[in-house]
C-alpha cells in the first residue's frame, strides 16, 4: 500500500492547551487507497490531531501538507474552508446535518450559491453515481430526521464524497452503530479505498481497527506510541502500546454472597406517562454482582432511577437494608452508602462548569469532611481531589480544572473516585464503561470487582454482553418492564440471553407479572 502516492502528510504537529500537550510532534503519511487507523485511549490526542488537520484548531508547530496539482502543499492553518477545498472530508462523531432537510439537500448544502435553480438534477446524478461506486445506499429524499443513525452516517459520508474528498476522516464512526451496521460500514470503506480514497479511521476499539485498516498509528498521551502494518500486528502488543503498560487481565474469584442489602418486591413504576416496570422482584446480596441485560429502553432506566433515589415504586416495595424506602431522595441513598454511577455521565454525573474538586465533593458537600457550619473547606476538597486524581488516574490539569474539559473516560474515573471512596455497601453501575477504551475499561472492572470482594452488593446495567459476562455472578434480563429470575452466570450462553432480551424465551422459573 505504501507504493501509492502520499495524499496527506502531517509533519511534527504540536498543540498545547495551557500546560497540557495534546499533540507532541506527531507525523504521519496517508497514501492513496489506504485505510489508516488512528488508535488510542480517550485523551490520547486523536481528536485534537484531526481537528488540526481539518482546521478547527491551529497547531503551535508543524505543517499539514496535502497533495494538490503541484505536489504536496501546506494548508493554511485554522481554515476548514481550505481543508474542504483541498479535498479533506470529515465525518464527526456527532453529525452535522440539518434534520428538517432531505438527504440530498444536506449533501448539496454549502456547495452551491444561495440562489441556484435547476441544478438539483445534476446534483442527484452525481450523488447517484457516488452511491453506485461506493455502495452507500440511502434514500435521498427522506427527511434526515426520519433516517436511522446508520443512514445519517451514510449521508455524512456522501456529503464528503460529493465535495470530491480525497481524504476521508471518520471520528469514532462505530460508536453509534449496531454490529451489523458497523460491518456494512467496513465494506463501504474498503470499497472506497480500493477506488483510491485515503481514509483515516479514528477509534479506540481494537477489534474493528484490526478488521478494517491497512496500517495502524497508535497515540498515547499526545505522542506517537507506534506505527505498524495491520497484517503483522498482534492484538496484545497493540493493546500494550495503547495503554503503555501491560493490560492486566481482570481476575475474579468466585462470589461469596452474604445477606440481602437491596430488595425489589413486586415493584411497579409509572414514569413519563407509561408503565416502566411491572411486578419486578430482585435481590442484591452483599459480595455479589448481578448483571442486568436487556435491549435499551426496556426498563433499565426505571430500575436505575429507583436505586439512584430519584423515584419510588408506584406499587410494590423496595427495601434498603430491610427497610422499605418511602421517599425519593438521592441524598438519603448517598448517605445510606449507595454508590450510583449515572448512565449519562456528562449530563447527570458532573457539573461541567465546576471544578474537578467540586465535582468530587458534590455528593458530600454538607458532610463535616468538606464543610463546617455551612462554610466550605476548600483545602479538604482540593486534597481529596488530588488524592482521587492520583489514585484513580484521572487525567486533568489539576483539581481546579473545569470538569467539562475532561474526556468521557476521565469523567467516569472521577465519578468512580467520588462514589467508591465512600466504601459503599450497594453499587449501581449503569453502563459503567460505555465509550471507554480498553485500559480504562479494565480499570473500572477491577474496581467494581474489588468493591464486590469487599462485600458490596453490585448491580451492573450494560448493553455490552461481554462486560456482563466479565463481571456478573448472576444474570437477570429485562424485557418490556418485566424482569427474569436471576440465574447464575455459569452455564449461560449468549444465545439464550439474546432470546430473553428479545422477549422470546422465558427463564426457567416464571415470574409473577
Amino acid at each position: 500500500m505504501t507504493d501509492t502516492p502520499v495524499l496527506l502528510s502531517l509533519t511534527n504537529i504540536t498543540k498545547r492547551f495551557g500546560p497540557l500537550i495534546a499533540n507532541n510532534a506527531i507525523s504521519l503519511d496517508l497514501h492513496r487507497g489506504e485505510i489508516l487507523a488512528l488508535l488510542g485511549e480517550n485523551g490520547a490526542g486523536k481528536t485534537t490531531l484531526m481537528n488540526i488537520l481539518f482546521g478547527h484548531y491551529v497547531q503551535d508547530e508543524g505543517d499539514v501538507l496535502v497533495l494538490g496539482d503541484g505536489g504536496l502543499a501546506a494548508l493554511p492553518p485554522g481554515s476548514p474552508g481550505a481543508a474542504l477545498k483541498a479535498g479533506i472530508g470529515m465525518v464527526h462523531q456527532h453529525f452535522t446535518l440539518a434534520e428538517n432537510l432531505s438527504g440530498l439537500a444536506n449533501i448539496r448544502l454549502g456547495t452551491e450559491p444561495l440562489l441556484s435553480f435547476g441544478r438539483e438534477g445534476d446534483a442527484r446524478a452525481k450523488v447517484k453515481r457516488i452511491i453506485a461506486e461506493s455502495g452507500l445506499d440511502v434514500d435521498l429524499d427522506r427527511r434526515v430526521a426520519d433516517l436511522t443513525v446508520g443512514e445519517k452516517q451514510r449521508i455524512e459520508i456522501l456529503k464528503a464524497l460529493y465535495r470530491d474528498a480525497k481524504v476521508l476522516i471518520l471520528d469514532e464512526p462505530t460508536a453509534v452503530l449496531t454490529p451489523q451496521e458497523a460491518e456494512g460500514l467496513f465494506v463501504v470503506l474498503r470499497r472506497l479505498a480500493a477506488n483510491g480514497l485515503g481514509v483515516i479511521f479514528i477509534s479506540h476499539k481494537l477489534g474493528e481497527v484490526l478488521a478494517v485498516s491497512h496500517r495502524i498509528l497508535v497515540l498515547r498521551g499526545g505522542t506517537k506510541a507506534g506505527e505498524l502494518v495491520t497484517a503483522d500486528a498482534d492484538r496484545r502488543a497493540i493493546a500494550d502500546l495503547m495503554v503503555g503498560k501491560a493490560v492486566a487481565e481482570v481476575v475474579r474469584i468466585p462470589a461469596l454472597p452474604g445477606e440481602t442489602l437491596l430488595e425489589f418486591d413486586g415493584v411497579s413504576l409509572h414514569a413519563g406517562g407509561r408503565q416502566a416496570l411491572s411486578g419486578v422482584s430482585l435481590k442484591l446480596r452483599a459480595g455479589e454482582i448481578v448483571g442486568l441485560a436487556g435491549v435499551s429502553g426496556n426498563g433499565q432506566s426505571g430500575i436505575a432511577a429507583l436505586i439512584s433515589g430519584l423515584a419510588v415504586p408506584t406499587s410494590g416495595t423496595m427495601r434498603l437494608y430491610g427497610e422499605a424506602v418511602a421517599k425519593a431522595s438521592p441524598r438519603d441513598f448517598v448517605m445510606a452508602g449507595v454508590a450510583r454511577m449515572p448512565e449519562d455521565r456528562q449530563h447527570d454525573g458532573v457539573v461541567g462548569t465546576m471544578s474537578v474538586a467540586d465535582n468530587i465533593a458534590i455528593e458530600d458537600v454538607r458532610s463535616p469532611a468538606f464543610s463546617k457550619m455551612g462554610l466550605l473547606d476548600r483545602k479538604a476538597m482540593r486534597e481529596r481531589a488530588s488524592a482521587a486524581i492520583a489514585g484513580y488516574d484521572v487525567r486533568c490539569p489539576g483539581p481546579d480544572a473545569e470538569a467539562r474539559l475532561l474526556s468521557g473516560g476521565n469523567v467516569q474515573k472521577l465519578i468512580l473516585a467520588r462514589v467508591l471512596e465512600r466504601e459503599p455497601r450497594v453499587i449501581l453501575a449503569n453502563q459503567p464503561t460505555r465509550g471507554l477504551d480498553v485500559g480504562a475499561q479494565a480499570e473500572v472492572h477491577r474496581r467494581i470487582l474489588a468493591a464486590r470482594d469487599r462485600g458490596a452488593a453490585v448491580l451492573v446495567i450494560s448493553e455490552d454482553l461481554d462486560e456482563l459476562f466479565a463481571l456478573a455472578d448472576r444474570f437477570v434480563v429485562v424485557h418490556a418492564g418485566e424482569l427474569s429470575d436471576a440465574g447464575p452466570s455459569e452455564g449461560l450462553d449468549r444465545g439464550t440471553i439474546g432470546l430473553m432480551m428479545a422477549g422470546q424465551a422465558r427463564p426457567p422459573v416464571g415470574i409473577a407479572s
Binding site: 492553518p77 485554522g78 481550505a82 448517605m335 447527570d348 457539573v351 465546576m354 464543610s371 466550605l376
Partner: protein, 357 residues
C-alpha cells in the same frame, strides 16, 4: 493579514475587566454619533456628564444615592440569574418591600432606631422575598414560567400600591397627593453626610454584595446554587435539594429587591407612593448583566449606570442635548458587553501568513 477564532478554555479576571471597560468605551464612542448629529460636541457633553456625576460632593452624593437601589436590584437579578431563576419582578418586589417598611415603620411599632431600622429592613426583605418565593413555588408545582409571572406581577403590585396610597394608607396631611403616611423618624435610615441625600442604604448594598460574593465562593449554599444553576440534572442526581435551593435563591433575590424599596422609602422619600421607582427593578437586570452577574461587579456597574443618568441630567440642563442620551449610553453599553462576552469565549488570533501559500 487574516484572523481566526479559537474557543477559549478559561477567561481570566483581568481579561473580563478589560472587556467590560472596552465595551463601555465603545458604547461612549457610538453615542458620540447622535450627539454630533444633534449639533453638540461629544467631548463637551461627556465632560459635563462626568462633572455632573462626580464633579462635586453634591454630584457624587446624587450619583451614589441613585446607585443605592440599583446595587440592590442588580444583586437581586445577579443571584437569581446565576441559579437560572429568571426574576424579572424586582420592580414589584421593590414596591412590596417599601410597602412592608411603611406598614411596620409608620407608627405600628415604636422602637429606638437601633431596633426599628433592622425591623423595617427585615420586614422589607421578607416581603420582597415572598414576592419571589410564590412564583417559584408555582413554577415548581405547575411548571408555570417565572418570567411571565414575575413580569406581570410588577403591574399588579404597582396598581395595588396605587390603590393603597389613594385609600387606606393615604396620608391625611398630604394635601391630596397620593402618598402614604410617612415613616416615623426612628425608622428612617440616617444620612451618610449632613445636607446630602446619600444614606445608609448604600452601605447595606455594598455589604450585601460582599456577603453574596463570600456566599458564592465559601459556603455550602453558594456551592449548591452554582450546581443547581449550571446543571440541574447533575445537582439533583448528586443529592442536592434542587427545589429547596431554588426557594432559598428566590428568597434572597426578592429580599434584596425588597431592601431596595426599604432604602428608597426609609432613606430618601420618607413615604410610599406609586412613583417611588423610575424602573430601578428593570434597570437591575441591566446592571447585573453589565457586571456579568458578579456581585462585586454589580456595585461598580450600578455606580456606572447611576452616574450616566445623573450626569446626563446635568449635561442636558447645560447643553440642551436631551437627557435620553443616558438611556442610549446604558443600552449600548449592555449591547457592547454582550458582544464583548463573545471575546471571553473565543480567542482571536491575527496572523500574517498568506492564505494558500
Amino acid at each position: 493579514m487574516s484572523f481566526r477564532l479559537e474557543p477559549r478554555e478559561h477567561a481570566s479576571v483581568g481579561l473580563k475587566l478589560t472587556v467590560s471597560l472596552a465595551a463601555g468605551i465603545v458604547a461612549l464612542l457610538l453615542v458620540a454619533i447622535p450627539v454630533l448629529s444633534a449639533g453638540g460636541s461629544p467631548i463637551e457633553a461627556y465632560g459635563l456628564m462626568v462633572q455632573g456625576a462626580f464633579g462635586s460632593m453634591f454630584a457624587l452624593s446624587e450619583t451614589l444615592n441613585r446607585a443605592t437601589p440599583l446595587i440592590l436590584t442588580g444583586l437581586a437579578c445577579a443571584v437569581a440569574f446565576r441559579a437560572k431563576l429568571w426574576n424579572i419582578g424586582a420592580e414589584g418586589q421593590l414596591y412590596i418591600g417599601a410597602l412592608a417598611a411603611v406598614c411596620v415603620g409608620s407608627g405600628l411599632l415604636q422602637l429606638p432606631p437601633a431596633l426599628m431600622i433592622p425591623t423595617v429592613m427585615i420586614a422589607g426583605f421578607l416581603a420582597g422575598g415572598l414576592m419571589m418565593v410564590i412564583p417559584t413555588i408555582i413554577k415548581q408545582r405547575f411548571g408555570a414560567d417565572e418570567v411571565v409571572i414575575t413580569l406581570l406581577l410588577n403591574f399588579v403590585v404597582i396598581l395595588f400600591i396605587q390603590m393603597l396610597v389613594e385609600g387606606v394608607l393615604k396620608d391625611p396631611l398630604s394635601m391630596g397627593w397620593p402618598q402614604s403616611v410617612p415613616l416615623i423618624a426612628e425608622a428612617k435610615l440616617p444620612k451618610l453626610l449632613p445636607r446630602l441625600r446619600m444614606h445608609w442604604g448604600l452601605i447595606v448594598g455594598v455589604v450585601a454584595a460582599l456577603i453574596l460574593w463570600l456566599m458564592v465562593r465559601k459556603t455550602v449554599l453558594g456551592f449548591e446554587i452554582r450546581a443547581v444553576g449550571e446543571n440541574k440534572a447533575a445537582a439533583r442526581f448528586a443529592g442536592i435539594p434542587v427545589d429547596a435551593t431554588m426557594l432559598k435563591v428566590a428568597l434572597i433575590s426578592g429580599g434584596l429587591a425588597g431592601l431596595a424599596g426599604v432604602g428608597e422609602v426609609a432613606g430618601v422619600k420618607g413615604y410610599l407612593s406609586a412613583d417611588l421607582s423610575p424602573g430601578f427593578g428593570y434597570s437591575g437586570i441591566v446592571v447585573a448583566m453589565l457586571a456579568g452577574l458578579s456581585p462585586i461587579g454589580t456595585v461598580i456597574s450600578a455606580v456606572f449606570v447611576a452616574a450616566v443618568f445623573v450626569g446626563a441630567d446635568s449635561m442636558s440642563r447645560a447643553t440642551g442635548i436631551s437627557s435620553y442620551i443616558a438611556d442610549l449610553v446604558v443600552a449600548l453599553s449592555l449591547l457592547c458587553v454582550l458582544v464583548g462576552s463573545f471575546f471571553l469565549r473565543f480567542r482571536v488570533k491575527f496572523e500574517r501568513r498568506q492564505v494558500g501559500a
